[in-house]
């Protein structure tokens, strides 16, 4: 059980997403409208496409390849809705954003 510092709050503003590699894992940090910071797998469950290359409209993360959409608060698939992004526990310590990667594996979906 250990959290790793990823960046500071100044690196991910509300409505933004950023990609990081934490302990060898691709992680996407998103700050949804309202200011909640979440950490999800950085790669779309469909094909090996980094989600950072897609769009984030403040509510959903949209993969650039086939426009798969994920809820930025829960990681749940919106369309298609039978898939999800794996979420990593996040801790805020002062200005620092920390993420725990132990025991979280990226999810993959087949069409």
């Amino acid at each position: 059980m250990s959290f790793t510092k990823v960046c500071t709050l100044d690196d991910v503003w509300e409505g933004e997403m950023e990609a990081f590699t934490v302990n060898g894992q691709d992680i996407l940090l998103v700050c949804a409208e309202g200011g909640d910071i979440k950490a999800f797998q950085g790669i779309c469950p469909h094909q090996d496409i980094p989600l950072i290359e897609g769009k984030f409209d403040g509510k959903k993360v949209i993969c650039r390849a086939h426009l798969w959409q994920f809820d930025a608060c829960t990681g749940k698939g919106i369309n298609p809705d039978d898939c999800a992004l794996a979420a990593y526990p996040v801790k805020i310590d002062g200005e620092d954003i920390l993420v725990e990667t132990d025991g979280v594996e990226p999810l993959f979906a087949h069409t």
Binding site: Q47, L67, N79, P80, H110
Partner: protein, 339 residues
């Protein structure tokens, strides 16, 4: 060095043999192994893998499907890499990528060329062995003097005459089209490898069919329409065929659909022109083709099976309309991404 090497995929435990002239991806598909892919042309990035052990050779180091970030992270494109000796890779795979018809190489002789528009021609080849492919698929052509193969969609359907028909638009400064349009003569032989592609006609759904073609995206949509008619799908279903053209002289495809049973009733053709030029030169719909879908289709978009092909701005707009705007199920949307 032996001609054949073995590729092991650590992700799914499968292994397959690659012959000297094949890429890792083509070797997998030939062996019936469903590595994730889409364009087979270095553009889409769907076939990215990690090299775990062994040596590979890149056929196109600057392929646009691989970003700088991918390169830093040691990713490669299976469609643009060849194994040099046995290798172990980690590559995503899935049942949806397993080819229903294994691709094969064969010689193909050009037998006929006909004009479609001022800058589009149909090239008909007769292959040495077969013309087995699914409606909507594409093949790779090895053209003399052109580095790398080119993907072109077939406009016809599988047949016993071993005919593969390609409708190709001349690309300014395009190496492939220059050879096809200016150098290749009837009687010349090229190498054809196929079929490839996942955006083929599905005949197990009862929904009405919508084909959206833009510019050079005509042939796979014509193939889908022909395939649907031949398979008897249009007895109960209607097929809406949208064609987006720049100017009135770019409009095409209607003559091909007119030959199909049900044209005018079960098959509807809706041409859309984005640059009508003179006001009286065009009586049909104007604007972008994706903007016509909602007005023309009688039902809600979620009730149709969609096929589309065309330039990136069009396919992107259609995807956004369907996937984001109307939440059409991803399984009802069929297209091969080439970028």
């Amino acid at each position: 060095m032996s001609n054949q090497v073995t590729i092991n995929n650590r992700k799914d435990g499968r292994s397959f043999v690659q012959s000297a002239q094949d890429s890792i991806l083509r070797a997998a598909l030939r062996a019936g192994v469903g590595l994730s892919y889409e364009c087979n042309s270095g553009g889409c990035g769907s076939c990215k893998f990690e090299l775990v052990d062994g040596q590979i050779q890149s056929l196109w180091p600057d392929a646009p499907g691989l970003t700088e970030r991918d390169k830093k992270r040691g990713r490669h494109l299976a469609c643009q890499c060849r194994a040099v000796g046995d290798v172990t890779i980690a590559a995503p795979s899935g049942a949806e990528y397993v080819p229903r018809l294994a691709p094969g190489r064969q010689a193909a002789r050009l037998v006929e060329v006909r004009d479609i528009t001022h800058d589009m021609k149909e090239f008909r080849f007769v292959a040495a062995d077969n013309a087995n492919f699914l409606a909507g698929q594409f093949a790779m052509l090895e053209l003399p003097g052109v580095t790398g193969s080119r993907a072109y969609s077939m406009s016809n359907t599988a047949n016993d005459r071993r005919e593969w028909h390609f409708q190709i638009r001349r690309v300014l400064h395009g190496q492939g089209t220059r050879v096809l349009f200016d150098q290749l003569a009837v009687g010349d032989v090229v190498e054809l490898d196929g079929p490839y592609g996942l955006a083929y006609l599905r005949n197990d759904t009862p929904r009405d069919i919508v084909c959206v073609a833009g510019g050079s995206g005509l042939p796979p949509m014509i193939s889908i329409a022909r395939g649907a008619a031949e398979a008897g799908l249009l007895g109960e279903r209607t097929l809406y065929f949208f064609y987006g053209a720049r100017t009135p002289r770019d409009v095409c495809g209607e003559d091909m659909l007119r030959e199909l049973e049900g044209y005018g009733s079960r098959i509807r053709y809706i041409p859309v022109v984005s640059l009508p030029e003179a006001p009286d030169s065009w009586q049909g719909a104007t604007g972008y083709v994706h903007d016509q879908l909602q007005g023309v289709l009688p039902g809600a978009l979620i009730d149709y099976e969609f096929y589309f092909a065309g330039p990136p701005p069009m396919t992107q707009a259609v995807q956004e309309l369907l996937m984001v705007g109307h939440k059409v199920q991803f399984g009802q949307i069929h297209f091969d991404r080439f970028f």
